[in-house]
Subunit: 214 residues, 2 copies
């Protein structure tokens, strides 16, 4: 097979068996998430993935190629396993967020390393290669639509600016999630019972509902 330029580059990698592919992906996600592009080491990646050095450059043309593949892959997963699973027909803002939080957590548990990696380039647009910026912007636009479109404004108290309430609620929820992330750092998710945390989460949402809704 002749390598056509562009898309066909990583075919070898894609056709790998699932187990090995995931090991390489996760090793790379972790290393890039922890150290960033320049400081990340391909040697560390191959060692953790338990493959020979040469294979990485057999699958990808170089470090940059691997990095771009990871971003592209990440955008796809976030779209498919997170955004598209959110129910945008729910017109109650808090309920939609509540549902989204569950979906997000489920996606995170399926791809924890990928999500940690995503956090490193979502904020910092500069670290994204130009050819992926449009897809990135498209994703953000999609995210905004799915979270904020077709909300029932009439549920809110009429003495507060609804747009401001949106953001305050979002910040509050993100704050709770960050605190959880920190509190559960290093815990074994597989054996962890999330029910009490969801219960606590819902209690906070109830406070928000009482406060911002009429």
């Amino acid at each position: 097979m002749v390598k056509r330029r562009g898309k066909t580059i990583a075919t070898k990698f894609i056709n790998l068996d699932d187990h090995k592919r995931r090991k390489i992906l996760n090793a790379a996600f972790r290393e890039f998430a922890e150290k960033g592009f320049e400081q990340a080491s391909t040697n560390v990646i191959v060692k953790e993935a338990r493959i020979g050095k040469g294979m990485l450059f057999y699958y990808f043309k170089n470090k940059q190629g691997l990095y771009e593949y990871l971003i592209e892959y990440t955008l796809d997963v976030i779209m498919k396993d997170y955004l598209q699973r959110i129910d945008p027909s729910e017109r109650d803002f808090i309920k939609r967020f509540k549902h989204a939080a569950r979906v997000k957590m489920k996606a995170f548990l399926e791809h924890p390393d990928l999500f940690r990696f995503s956090g490193t380039f979502m904020l910092d647009q500069e670290s994204i290669p130009d050819r992926l910026k449009p897809r990135m912007e498209q994703l953000q636009e999609m995210g905004n639509k799915i979270m904020y479109e077709n909300i029932d404004y009439s549920l809110f108290r009429d003495d507060v600016d609804v747009e401001k309430a949106f953001r305050l609620i979002r910040w509050a929820i993100e704050g709770y999630q960050n605190e959880m992330k920190q509190r559960l750092d290093g815990a074994n998710f597989a054996t962890l019972d999330f029910d009490p945390y969801w219960k606590e989460f819902d209690e906070y949402l109830d406070v928000l509902r009482k406060s911002f809704y009429s």
Copy 2:
């Protein structure tokens, strides 16, 4: 002068003239903040501080010594230029936070690199050397006291859990601040007019007041 063990180590550095001392501190703050302890490079620090390589190890006994000095210095500044300037006699929770936000911003503008550095070890207790952990905990305790003690609970609506409201308000404010930090990333603070941002901030606080207070 004989070097006694412990405290006297960095005397040479402390007696430096202000300009040079600050250049070294800021260079080190930036490097450690950006790369973390292991990945940070003493070569980069001396180059940015425009001093010879030897000087760094003349002032500090080694990389670790420099790092610990930075943490100690940071804890002192946060205590003196931030926490201790907050007015704990204000019993209105939102007003106290409002005031604290101003104080914090002022302190940040005085020591931007130091505050960025502080963010890297405040969350991750593991990165702090044992001998500084007590001071760290003391600072956090102090912070909690100053922010949450002697609050007038009666201002809150009586149908919401006040402790939960505390956290929700804190998260909301931190969310706003993070968004600002990101929106103003790279801006020139010296020439920037903060008034419109403070106005917007106060508008958000008003929404919180309307929502959580009776």
